[in-house]
């Protein structure tokens, strides 16, 4: 059952991640193991999700759900990714005063956050190999765009939507116009 699979996958993603970019490694793993998405699709998705309003996790669940099983699929995936909120956070809300300053939670975060960063770093390696080295060929234009964007993001404090828009325009020039001019 595709719906049950989607729900379970996104529930797993929800429970083992802490929002934002920390979801990407888990989504990549789940999507490629089920054959629902390629790393290329995922990169496109990250860019699209960053360009549209709303939390990244919800955007990813909607996109994947729609791609694999239409609108019903997106509803199921979104409900799956929301399961931690509906269960754990609901319990926390009820006992809020006790959880406010919990030493257990602090310990868990101390250990899990570095693990999340490690997961993100390993996704960077995976995505780099599919984005910048396609079928053994070095994509020098893509590497150039990446270096420029990294500089603009970190040193020039450009916003993510600005970076995405300008790299898409560079893509149109380098991968659209240039091959045409060269014939």
């Amino acid at each position: 059952m595709i719906y049950a699979q989607l729900f379970l996958s996104f529930m797993k993603i929800g429970f083992t991640s802490f929002g934002g970019m920390s979801m990407i490694p888990l989504i990549l793993e789940e999507m490629t193991s089920h054959g629902w998405m390629t790393p290329e699709d995922l990169s496109n998705l990250v860019a699209i999700a960053e360009m549209t309003p709303g939390p990244l996790g919800i955007n990813c669940a909607t996109f994947t759900g729609t791609q694999t099983a239409g609108f019903a699929g997106s509803v199921v995936a979104v409900l799956g990714v929301l399961m931690p909120a509906f269960t754990l956070t609901m319990v926390i809300a009820i006992f809020f005063e006790k959880f406010k300053d919990s030493s257990v939670m602090r310990r868990i975060m101390f250990v899990v956050k570095p693990i999340c960063i490690a997961m993100i770093l390993s996704v960077i390696v995976t995505l780099s190999s599919t984005t910048y080295f396609v079928e053994g060929a070095v994509q020098s234009f893509s590497i150039g765009i990446a270096a420029l964007m990294l500089y603009l993001l970190i040193k020039r404090k450009w916003s993510v939507p600005m970076v995405i828009t300008s790299s898409a325009m560079l893509g149109v020039i380098f991968y659209g116009v240039l091959p045409m001019v060269r014939g």
Binding site: F18, G19, P53, G54, A93, K100, S142
Partner: protein, 189 residues
């Protein structure tokens, strides 16, 4: 009746901020602060900060966790659900439409070229997110060691992410229990 009315107005507000919020959770928080702390004075700033701290440390999406805590605080379970569905509905609608266009346009020559350029920017974007997360989470040598070990396990040994996170949670619980027992012993002695 009062709860239902409150719930619906929570839904409406969260729907509105869900429509116009780019840049993730922190931008949404700024709007919540303006609306609920400054304008309507439903909660105090320190209450909101407590919700943020708890919502951030619970698993799942930070902003839906915070929305749920806030909605529950104002109007119980129904309020919590209204807040969560309010904030996600615009995202679901917009992304459904975008996905339809993605499928029909991604093979177009020009769109394909644009997407190729755009994909080149994804690694730097994720990288800069990792960098700012790292500044916060990798302040101590043990944290850096955990990160390095997890990185090697993930990339070289192919250990799955879920296993890594669960191992981390179990390890943290053992560590917490260990220091508690130690403390009790010190107190007894």
């Amino acid at each position: 009746m009062d709860r239902i009315k409150k719930g619906l107005s929570i839904f409406a507000f969260f729907f509105k901020i869900g429509c116009f919020t780019f840049g993730g959770g922190w931008a949404i928080l700024a709007q919540m602060e303006q609306e609920f702390v400054d304008k309507r004075q439903i909660i105090t700033k320190s209450e909101l900060l407590e919700m943020v701290a708890v919502g951030k440390s619970a698993p799942g999406i930070m902003i839906t966790n915070i929305s749920l805590l806030f909605g529950y605080h104002v109007a119980g379970v129904f309020g919590g659900l209204c807040a969560v569905f309010g904030i996600i509905t615009p995202a679901v609608i917009i992304l459904s439409i975008v996905t339809l266009f993605y499928n029909s346009f991604k093979d177009n020559y020009w769109v394909h070229a644009g997407l190729t350029g755009l994909r080149a920017a994804v690694v730097p974007i994720i990288g800069s997110a990792a960098l700012s997360l790292g500044k916060d989470a990798l302040r101590t040598p043990p944290a850096i060691a955990i990160c390095l070990v997890a990185f090697c396990l993930s990339l070289l040994a192919g250990v799955s992410n879920i296993v890594l996170v669960l191992a981390g949670v179990v390890g943290a619980l053992a560590w917490w229990a260990g220091t508690r027992i130690k403390k009790e012993r010190v107190q007894e002695a």
